[in-house]
């Protein structure tokens, strides 16, 4: 693995155990200066733990952490040059917004006018000037979240750490604040490490996403790469809503051409770009619901007929749940052309957009 020369945050062989339970195992990441990294993974996979290690809130069991080229493995949190935003906002309830923002600075003994300057700047960036004299309890969820970000902002640090900062908000607000964070990043150009289990957030915010599972990073790549070329079945299944369709079957070579065969379904793989030379055997075929089309005539390398189980209109588009053979299959279409329940429909797709995985290891083929 190559190391970034000027990594802003560099984590080397990090391990962490709680007693006998190993939560993180020899984990390595390098985050470039100004990069927006999202840690994505299911609940309990160790995302917060990793973030807390970076922040110095947990003592690592092994490995080293560098921030801005300095080994901070045993440094106090305040000396690491990081700011952190928490899921529950963690605002000090008895202080006004202004006091909340200035607390860290006052503790550090920074001069009054410098504090005032920094607060003014943060308040302006986040547009919370009118709120400065309120207590957190008098703020809405979104405003609280902004104050929490402000608290990291005033610290004038190089690295921002976010631990699911939006997951306590409702969907609408989440969408708005997501955009704000994105804008903030393009304005500040800080390094940001952002934990979430919401894939939309990950997809929209990240320069690179690190998909984690069981304390191990599965894939670290740009969002589109992760979405379109997941390295294993877990990553493929974790991203995308509704989830990717998986068909269990076998990889076979007939007449010099590779095919994926699942019972009576036979998918030609001529257009599929294999990772490495394929071998016959059990495999899983994955295709995203939006890459499947209805009634598409013969334009597609693969077509089949399926039975409609449920139709879910979602406003802007519609999900159709099908039975293909006896396997479940979801298709996402724009609202206009929707079949009805219990119809038999014909579907088609191009295996080029699909992913193939080893049935045993789950690795991409």
């Amino acid at each position: 693995m190559t190391r970034l020369e000027n990594a802003s945050v560099s984590i080397q062989d990090l391990s962490l155990n709680f007693g006998a339970i190993s939560v993180l195992e020899t984990l390595n990441i390098d985050v470039a200066e100004g990069e927006f990294i999202v840690l994505l993974g299911p609940s309990g996979c160790g995302k917060s733990t990793l973030l807390n290690c970076i922040a110095g809130l947990l003592d690592v069991s092994d490995g080293r952490i560098f921030i801005k080229g300095k080994n901070v493995t045993w440094e106090e949190p305040k000396n690491r040059g990081i700011g952190m935003v928490f899921q529950s906002y963690a605002l000090y309830p008895q202080m006004t917004v202004e006091k909340n923002l200035s607390f860290g600075l006052r503790v550090a003994g920074i001069a009054k006018d410098e504090i005032a300057k920094r607060i003014a700047r943060a308040a302006e960036i986040l547009q919370i000037e009118p709120l400065l004299q309120r207590k957190p309890s008098a703020l809405s969820g979104g405003q609280r979240q902004r104050v929490a970000i402000g608290r990291a902002l005033v610290r004038d640090v190089d690295v921002f750490l976010f631990d699911e900062p939006l997951s306590n908000l409702d969907a609408k607000l989440r969408a708005e604040l997501r955009v704000e964070i994105k804008l903030l990043h393009s304005k500040l150009q800080n390094t940001m490490i952002y934990v979430t289990h919401d894939q939309i957030e990950a997809m929209t915010l990240a320069d690179r996403i690190a998909v984690m599972k069981g304390g191990v990073i599965q894939q670290l790549d740009a969002p589109q790469t992760i979405y379109n070329r997941p390295v294993n079945r877990f990553v493929a299944g974790f991203l995308g809503s509704p989830a990717m369709n998986f068909l269990d079957g076998r990889l076979e070579k007939n007449d010099g051409n590779w095919h994926f065969v699942a019972e009576d379904v036979r998918i030609p793989l001529a257009t599929y770009a294999f990772e490495k030379e394929p071998v016959p055997g059990a495999a899983v075929f994955g295709i995203r619901p939006e890459h499947v089309a209805f009634n598409s005539g013969s334009g597609w390398p693969f077509t089949a007929t399926a039975n409609v189980v449920v139709v879910e209109p979602m406003g802007s588009d519609t999900l159709v749940w099908l039975k293909l053979g006896n396997q479940n299959f979801t298709v996402r279409v724009t609202s206009e052309r929707t079949p009805n329940n219990a119809d038999t429909v014909s579907i088609g797709f191009d295996p080029m957009r699909a992913s193939l995985f080893d049935a045993a290891t789950g690795a991409r083929l």
Partner: protein
């Protein structure tokens, strides 16, 4: 629009349903069986709880002749405050005839520093245990909790020796230390539970902000802990004010707390037992914790929920 209607004004006739029939709130009788049972039970139980207080007050307002005549429950025919005056300022123990008044100030001098010290220590302990868990802390804590069950009598003698060795026996500071020690287990438990129920992220945020052990304690945790402090204060004020054993063993007559004076007055029978004076003295002694409790009763319930039920 569909043929189903929405939110049309009231009063429109409906088809297919009887126009009459139950409508509006279900009629409730003030004297339903449930209410009679509920309030009946509560009132009876409340009477049981109030009875002793009633008897105390009534008796303390009667003169001795009236008490001898009779019924402890009957209200006083002639209200006299004589017993109160006597209990406060002139009841005798041996040669000291200044009633409870002296004990009152002693109690104040004992209670105030003891409450402050014990709560200060216990809250810091609870905070350290909840947020700064270090190796071995749990073991000490378990020992402390077991300590809560040790009968005080068992500890009297060793403590006499310890106090003698550090030269604090018989002094007020000695007693303050004793109260702090015996208040520690249950208070530490309360504070620990309370602080662990506060979001851990708050503590982490403060650490990222650079606040240290004491900074977080004083500037973040303390301002958020009013309910549990109220509980601790009530528990300690009542506990220490009401303490008899330590007060009598670890002080001397000129620093006797009020309970010891009360015991002296009640047990110094000169001729006949002056029940009215005894009752007045009893009420006077209980007055401080009662007032503290009445003033902060609501917070007490809230704090109990935060400190004892969770965690």
């Amino acid at each position: 629009m569909s043929d189903l209607a929405v939110s049309l004004p009231a009063g429109t006739d409906s088809i297919g349903f009887e126009a009459s029939g139950p409508r509006g709130p279900k009629p409730r009788h003030v004297f339903s069986r449930r209410n009679i049972f509920l309030y009946g039970t509560l009132i009876v139980v409340a009477l049981y709880y109030l009875l002793p207080l009633y008897v105390m007050v009534v008796t303390s307002l009667k003169g001795m002749p009236e008490i001898r005549l009779g019924n402890i429950f009957s209200p006083p025919l002639e209200i006299t405050f004589e017993p109160w005056v006597k209990a406060w300022s002139s009841a005798c123990t041996g040669l000291n005839c200044d009633g409870l008044s002296r004990g009152f100030w002693n109690s104040v001098r004992i209670t105030v520093p003891s409450v402050i010290l014990s709560i200060a220590i216990a809250s810091v302990n609870g905070y350290a245990l909840a947020n700064w868990r270090f190796k071995g802390a749990d073991t000490f804590f378990v020992i402390l909790i077991v300590g809560a069950f040790i009968p005080y009598q068992v500890m009297i003698y060793p403590i006499v020796i310890i106090l003698r060795e550090i030269g604090l026996y018989g002094s007020l500071s000695g007693l303050v230390i004793v109260h702090s020690i015996f208040g520690m287990p249950i208070l530490t438990l309360l504070f620990r539970n309370y602080f662990s129920s506060m979001p851990d992220e708050l503590f982490r945020a403060a650490r990222v902000d650079g606040a240290g052990f004491w900074g977080i304690y004083f500037r973040i945790m303390l301002p958020m802990s009013l309910p549990i402090f109220v509980v601790a204060i009530i528990l300690q004020v009542t506990g220490i004010w009401n303490d008899f054993l330590f007060g009598v063993v670890y002080t001397r007559p000129d620093t006797y707390p009020m309970t010891v004076q009360l015991n002296n007055i009640v047990n110094s029978v000169q001729g006949v037992k002056e029940y009215n004076v005894n009752m007045a003295a009893t009420i006077l002694t209980g007055l401080v914790p009662l007032v503290v409790y009445f003033v902060s009763g609501k917070l007490f319930v809230r704090g109990i929920a935060a400190g004892a039920v969770k965690g």
